[in-house]
Symmetry: C2
Subunit: 217 residues, 2 copies
């Protein structure tokens, strides 16, 4: 087939289909040839729109990041904004867990990821946190969110009671998978509350009223 009258591909369609494939079959099973087949096209045609496979994955990762609500930093004080951002971030990743290992490598050159980093860091500095501390806080929360989305804790345990026979405290571990949602959600809420509790204590201790900003916006 030569160049068709109507272009068969565009970046948006490629990214959408790639995300659907990754969601369905995982990063390991994702290949340019399978992606092309899903788009009714031959493999190399994708390279008219993206230079490399990684560039496709970058676009997929950024489309996921773009669904995180960073507007919270304009509407809430730093602590409440952090809480809502973390929940929104995790929710976005939880819908597409298979792309998380790729996405968690860092913002790189992905625009939505950079915009998010800018919003988080800006809000913390505006609230009076010292710049180095703001960096640490953003990083610590990203660690926690990425870790929580990376692998479901509960799903990491095989559903095979015999496996745990040798471990006196894991006799019920095989049932974790069945309660995956509540285990993961409970652990995330616990950790987020604890983190924010600790941060609030440090804020009260180290950021003087004069340094505290003028609120959101």
């Amino acid at each position: 087939m030569p160049r068709p009258r109507q272009a068969l591909l565009n970046r948006e369609r490629i990214v959408e289909t790639a995300l659907a494939l990754i969601d369905a079959d995982g990063l390991g099973a994702f290949s340019t040839r399978r992606l092309a087949a899903a788009l009714n096209v031959q493999g190399p045609s994708l390279y008219n729109h993206f230079a490399t496979k990684d560039e496709i994955l970058d676009a997929v990762a950024d489309s996921v990041t773009a669904s995180v609500d960073v507007g919270v930093f304009d509407r809430y004080d730093w602590a409440e904004a952090l809480r809502r951002w973390a929940r929104s971030y995790r929710a976005a990743l939880a819908v597409h867990p298979n792309i998380v290992p790729y996405l968690a490598q860092g913002p790189g050159r992905r625009p939505a990821a950079l915009a998010m980093a800018d919003a988080v860091y800006g809000a913390l500095v505006r609230a009076g946190w010292p710049p180095a501390r703001a960096t640490h806080i953003g990083a610590a929360l990203r660690y926690f969110v990425a870790g929580s989305a990376l692998g479901s804790f509960a799903r990491g345990f095989v559903e095979d009671p015999e496996l745990y026979a040798a471990h006196p405290h894991l006799t019920q571990a095989h049932r974790l998978r069945g309660h995956q949602r509540s285990v993961d959600e409970g652990a995330f809420t616990l950790g987020l509350d604890a983190l924010l509790h600790g941060l609030a204590a440090e804020y009260a201790r180290t950021v003087t009223p004069l340094e505290r900003g003028t609120g959101p916006g």
Copy 2:
């Protein structure tokens, strides 16, 4: 070459060499043929000792997990033990960051990972935490440690000042890579302190003195 008088391979040598290769060149560049070449052997010979590539990676991941100190749960109260375990865990992963994405998928059937889960959970229950809560705490800390080791936060930012020109708060982001160690360490310490601070508060609030265990051991 037929069967040699002295076996060229054994599981230990394979795992050691695989870890060295992964450390040096990353998971993406790791292949059975490259591993075999490093062992002066043809690719398929590995399959006399491991059934699949994943089985090799499992063994590599478990050898890293095995270097985490879980003895702390016998020597310290739950909070101090958690702190030391988290530091030991992160230190073990930080030496071999390239295997972390694989390892972070969960314990699966890897013995050292299961032993670690058993030790953490057992110590928390012994200290009086309700079983469900103990699961959440273990999971939350694993989220944090795995996230912190998965990708260096600082390394995720490209060293290209122009990239950040459009983001008002990221004008110094290109310098993060240069302070990678202190940024990552600072963020980890901040997060760990905050998490443990929050957990101690909940312990004081919800675990009655009667429920509290008899200490370590």
